[in-house]
């Protein structure tokens, strides 16, 4: 209970601070804030074991943090520093931590589902007990390569959980204008069980994910979870400058009324909550200090790691 709160709070505050660093220019290029969707990453990752793997998205900080990556190294990555998770080579949209089974955020919508499926299949064929979780948005439900992945996973009973974060929009495109039929019906049609979950409540997400993970580990194949949520902030920080009109202010305030941090926070005593909040702040203070103090990579090594054998 406290752990889930710590995670959602950590993500929220990380993102709020990251937005500040975008404003101040320490983070170049902007981010896709995860604010409002924290319960999903928290619930999903809480159900994973140490050998499990995940793939993430352009809106991936929450997934990476919930999986336990060092906030200092994630922040350093966003700042393009050598101490970053990817040594400053990936940035926000590619954060990865293979030591934790984080196979990377992916900047191509819909691409990661089949990568996660392959990784989970491989692990099983190597006799490991690995389950993969793969995050994607409602927009990705229209990408053919993701739909193809549903088929491969269901056909070969691959231990993968498809986590759809339905935040109502793909950039400015409302779900209702983009998706014919329904999200879960689409998943079920590929022969896997699909459930709609309250994506604002980390405990609900955890519960559904526990069932899905158990199913996968038992060799019974993939599960699809549609986590209904709302993006509280901009699609991307560039939207803080551009005026894009696609959501009404009423809608935004209704959406924000069910805040995962509040929902989970309400389950703690005020004292416990305050303690966690303080813990998170000092963790993030330290992270910022480390990140800001980290070296920039050497431009002469711009193509290091281009090939496996070196540049």
């Amino acid at each position: 209970m406290t752990d889930l709160y710590r995670t959602v709070r950590l993500i929220r505050r990380f993102e709020e601070r990251a937005i500040e660093f975008v404003r101040s220019g320490e983070i170049v290029g902007g981010i896709h804030p995860y604010i409002g969707q924290e319960a999903i990453a928290a619930g999903v990752c809480a159900a994973l074991g140490p050998d499990d793997v995940l793939t993430s998205t352009h809106r991936g900080h929450g997934h990476v943090l919930a999986r336990g990556a060092d906030p200092a190294r994630l922040l350093a990555e966003l700042m393009g520093r050598e101490t970053g998770l990817n040594k400053g080579r990936g940035g926000s949209m590619h954060a990865a931590d293979f030591a934790l089974g984080i196979l990377g955020a992916n900047a191509i919508v819909g691409a990661a589902g089949s990568i996660a499926t392959g990784a989970a299949w491989a692990a099983r064929s190597q006799g490991r007990d690995t389950v993969a979780a793969t995050f994607f948005g409602d927009g990705a439900m229209n990408e053919g390569m993701l739909l193809e992945a549903f088929n491969l996973a269901a056909l070969w009973q691959v231990p993968v959980v498809f986590v759809c974060e339905n935040n109502g929009y793909a950039t400015t495109m409302p779900v209702a204008s983009a998706i014919a039929g329904s999200i879960t019906a689409r998943a079920r049609a590929f022969g896997m069980p699909a459930f709609t979950v309250d994506g604002q409540d980390p405990e609900k997400v955890l519960e559904a994910m526990n069932t899905a993970v158990a199913r996968a580990r038992a060799g019974r194949g993939p599960t699809f979870l549609e986590c209904v949520t709302y993006r509280f902030d901009a699609h991307h920080t560039f939207e803080h400058r551009a005026r894009l009109s696609y959501r009404s202010t009423e809608e935004i305030s209704t959406g924000r009324s069910r805040c995962p941090v509040e929902i989970q926070g309400a389950r703690l005593t005020a004292a416990d909550r305050a303690a966690v909040d303080a813990e998170v702040e000092s963790l993030l203070d330290a992270a910022a200090e480390v990140a800001l103090g980290s070296a920039h990579p050497d431009p002469a090594a711009a193509l290091a790691y281009l090939y496996a054998g070196g540049a």
Partner: protein, 324 residues
């Protein structure tokens, strides 16, 4: 005279063509809200049937455009990021491009593919920073990379009116370029005609898109040191203005190509090849390009290091002039 930005020139070209020809329509992601600003105001002016917001289904909507073109329309697709062209490579190179020959000339496929913000957009990193114009040139799809607002307008208009598929790359480094001009002079520009952006006598610098502006700045700088560099902007990558390149290099006798894409079998390689076939050079030609296999690293200094820069260009021009 009013100033026109490159981005606004694209917007104007789209508006003018939508106005002029009822067969023209736009499709793409977030073009209603105009997330990239290229389609700003067009939904309000032309409505939902002519400014079609699509789901994230690049492959299907690219073929959808081909089908609409077969039925007499002139679709214009906006792609938010250059790597989406990788995703639809089959649909352009193997479908749209091939219908005319395969059907024995029964049909045509006048689709325009526009990528506003190609190349590196600061901070968008590995999967969003490519400049794959050479790929389309290789397969024979008409490909343009305008460098100025007037060219952006004129080449986009021509692309839309062309009866074949045309890819238009608008480099992110050029989107902010502004030009003083009389709007009445905006006009279609034929594909395959390059332009001497600055004349000179000592060396020909072939540059494309945003790099034309870098090449011009470098030429200015060198002029101060008594070096006269000609800057040739082919504008169209395919069909290429081979005669224009050859004419310029024939006069200067020296060649440097600056190209914001990978070296092997890229745009610069083709320029060197046609010049080798047709010109006598006073010194070996040189390419200033991204390194082979380049993946743009995120960190700003690394991102910059991978792209061709002005200092590099100066050094290479000097080397070519000293050679022999």
């Amino acid at each position: 005279m009013p100033k026109l930005s490159y981005l606004k020139a694209l917007n104007r070209a789209l508006g003018d063509e939508l106005e002029r020809d009822p067969a023209v329509f736009l499709l793409g992601e977030d073009i209603r809200a105009a997330a990239s600003n290229v389609t700003a105001g067009l939904f309000d002016r032309f409505g939902a049937d002519r400014v079609l917001d699509t789901p994230l289904s690049e492959q299907a909507f690219t073929n959808f455009a081909t089908g609409a073109a077969l039925a007499g329309m002139r679709p214009v697709i906006e792609f938010q990021i250059p790597s989406l062209l990788f995703l639809v490579f089959e649909q352009i190179a193997n479908q749209a491009h091939k219908f005319s020959l395969m059907t024995g000339g029964q049909c045509k496929v006048p689709v325009t593919y526009v990528v506003p913000g190609s190349g590196s957009r600061t901070g968008w990193a590995g999967q969003h920073s490519d400049h794959p114009y050479a790929l389309f040139a290789h397969v024979g799809v008409k490909t343009v990379v305008p460098s100025t607002p007037a060219d952006a307008y004129g080449l986009l208009v021509t692309a839309i009116r062309d009866d074949d598929p045309v890819v238009v790359f608008a480099p992110s480094g050029a989107l902010g370029v502004r030009e003083d001009l009389d709007f009445g002079t905006l006009a279609p520009i034929p594909l395959g005609e390059g332009r001497i952006a600055r004349s000179g006598t000592d060396v020909t610098v072939v540059a494309l898109g945003h790099l034309v502006h870098d090449a011009l700045a470098v030429a200015d700088e060198l002029a101060g040191r008594g070096i006269s560099a000609e800057v040739f902007d082919p504008r169209t990558v395919y069909p290429l203005d081979v005669d224009g390149v050859v004419e310029s290099v024939g006069r200067t006798g020296r060649l440097v190509v600056v190209d914001d894409s990978n070296r092997t079998s890229g745009f610069a390689a083709e320029i060197l090849a046609v010049v080798a076939e047709r010109c006598d050079l006073a010194a070996p030609p040189r390419r200033v390009t991204r390194p082979d296999g380049a993946v743009l690293p995120f960190a700003l200094a690394l991102d910059r290091a991978v792209q061709p820069g002005r200092e590099q260009l100066v050094a290479v021009i000097n080397a070519v002039l000293e050679d022999r």
